[in-house]
Amino acid sequence: MSRGARPASAGSANALELRGVSRLFGALAALSDITLSVQPGERRAVLGSNGAGKTTLFNCITGDFAPSSGIIRFFGEDVTAFPPYERIRRGLRRTYQISSLFAGLPVLDNVYLACRGVSRNRYSLLRPRRDDALVHAAEGLIDAVHLTAVKDQLVGELAYGQQRQLEIALALSGAPRFILFDEPAAGLSPTERRDLVHILTGLPAHIGYIIIEHDMDVALRVVESVTMMHNGRIFKEGRPDEIEADPEVQDLYLGGGHG
């Protein structure tokens, strides 16, 4: 697939565009008829109660699960039938709600793998040299999430919060164009939350993202638009202040005392 073959409209196309995306698990419609567009550089929160289908939405966008129906475009290109790695190589990134790391490898190797995965020479039989650019890139990412002190430790030995930070570092590797964060703040300490907000607001302006987050203090501070989900459907979209003020939303979600 030649990179030049990308549609000429890529500059004006939506970063992400979903048309009628549904996903069934047996009889359960985890997603039904989701239509959504996100502009390049746009930052959006997806909110909704447990089981609303937020993570399933991410899984369909990255290709972890194929949607049962519907079309997904990434910067204008129809990626619906692409395997996950093809989408990642085009600049999509994600974090997992439940940390999905390489527990038997040190922190540096985890991040190095992430940098390798979106570079050429994934099959290189040569060990990196002392001045390897990707090792430097990996060290930079580790520094950004404050893990430099533990960079040689096995990931399985890290504290929970540190593993969550590492999840974020993996999603920032290479040249991301759009990132999906699945509850990145869950289980973080107040300081770590502040660091997270700092990282998110500090991302270059051209990098857009969707963040799933139950903590409104985090979610509404780092986005310009909000999508509310319930039972696999989108039921409201708007600016953070509109959503916060919406009585229906307050009923269903904010005041609902959800777990």
Binding site: Y85, Y96, D109, G117, R122, Y123, R127, P128, D132
Partner: protein, 362 residues
């Protein structure tokens, strides 16, 4: 495969150590074994040198190719012995043998590379066929490929010469050395195995090997990092097949003949046994497993007769040994050695701590 976690130092450590430091980091055991292997021709009889040690090294190399796949990739392939046998057959078919109506009599320097390349392609193809399966299904598919090759070689007379196969295959003479001589052949196998061993260790910490360990531990995340897990596994089959193919060339020079039995179901499974008994977590494991296997095969007959049993039961002894080792240690002999070492070290630390002597700090 969770118990078989194969750990390597970080990519960074790999980058920062040069050859000299890598050598300096080896323990005394490594140097004793290396020195012993180097002077072996001075102390061992030709029988020990070739029939025991060189043979064990060759089988160890084939098992090493399986260790690479299983230890780093979580892929249990039963096709490695078949790759080796195919390379051996190609040496006989393309080169010289007593079956003059088939053998093409190419010189060794043309035969060996072509044999290795074709056998490696066969390994890649087997990988492509089986790589989408996991666990027991991989074992079944690779076993099916191995059996198919066995029956092909048994029933085809125009290329494989059927049941009788090829004999009269001699190691080459070059650089003024007859590599079929006991000492020369020993050093040839030792040198090849050392190269294969070093290559596996080196690659395990190179991006390719590191990513392979990633596909073993978390294939879904690897795909979400941009890796094509299927292609990566097929490439791993290719790397392993190159090692197995070289070992196959040595094997046919060692046996000086090759026939369907070389890659029958028995030998195919024996490679798995060797690798598992030795231990899949480190590249040295397969060589230890192979040595134990060859010793048992060679001497269990005498041993059994010594205690008044039928010498033909040596397979039983091997089977029992296999059972005991796997039951005692999920990581084979390596695992046992490591536990003994750990206990010894702890015991010594406890004693120094008790005596309140120096060096008692953790």
């Amino acid at each position: 495969m969770a118990t078989l976690e194969t750990r390597s130092p970080s990519i960074d450590a790999g980058a920062r150590i040069g050859l000299r430091e890598a050598i300096a980091r080896q323990g005394t055991a490594f140097w004793i074994v290396a020195a012993l292997l180097l002077v072996m021709p001075l102390i061992a009889t030709p029988f020990w040198l070739v029939q025991i040690i060189a043979y064990a090294i060759i089988l160890g190399m084939i098992a090493l190719s399986l260790m690479f796949l299983a230890g780093y990739g979580g892929i249990v392939s039963l096709v490695q012995m078949t790759v080796a046998a195919f390379a051996g057959y190609l040496v006989a078919i393309l080169g010289d043998s007593a079956i003059t109506q088939i053998s093409l009599k190419w010189p060794w320097w043309a035969t060996v590379p072509v044999a290795v390349v074709l056998a490696s392609l066969f390994g890649v193809l087997s990988g492509a066929l089986s790589v989408r399966t996991e666990g027991i299904y991989t074992i079944m598919i690779t076993l099916a490929i191995a059996s198919a090759f066995y029956y092909l070689s048994l029933q085809n007379y125009t290329i494989f010469n059927g049941f009788s196969g090829f004999n009269g295959i001699l190691p080459p003479v070059f650089l003024g050395v007859d590599w079929g001589g006991d000492v020369a052949f020993y050093y040839l196998t030792l040198g090849s195995a050392a190269l294969a061993y070093a290559a596996v260790i080196y690659v395990s910490r190179a991006p390719f090997g590191l990513a392979l360990q990633g596909t073993r531990d978390n294939p879904r995340r690897m795909a979400a990092l941009g890796f094509n897990v299927t292609a990566h596994r097929i490439a791993a089959y290719g790397f392993a097949a190159v090692i197995a193919a070289f070992a196959g060339v040595l094997l046919v020079w060692y046996q000086r003949q090759i026939s369907p039995g070389t890659a029958g179901v028995g030998p195919v499974v024996d490679i798995l046994i060797i690798a598992v008994v030795g231990g899949l977590s480190r590249p040295i494991g397969p060589f230890i497993g192979a040595l134990v296997y060859v010793l048992l095969r060679t001497f269990s007959l005498d041993l059994l007769e010594l205690v008044g049993l039928d010498g033909k039961r040596f397979q039983l002894l091997i089977g029992l040994g296999f059972l005991v080792i796997v039951l005692v240690s999920p990581d084979g002999l390596i695992g046992i050695a490591e536990r003994v070492k750990g206990r010894y070290r702890r015991g010594r630390e406890a004693r120094t701590a008790e005596m309140g002597g120096p060096g008692g700090q953790p």
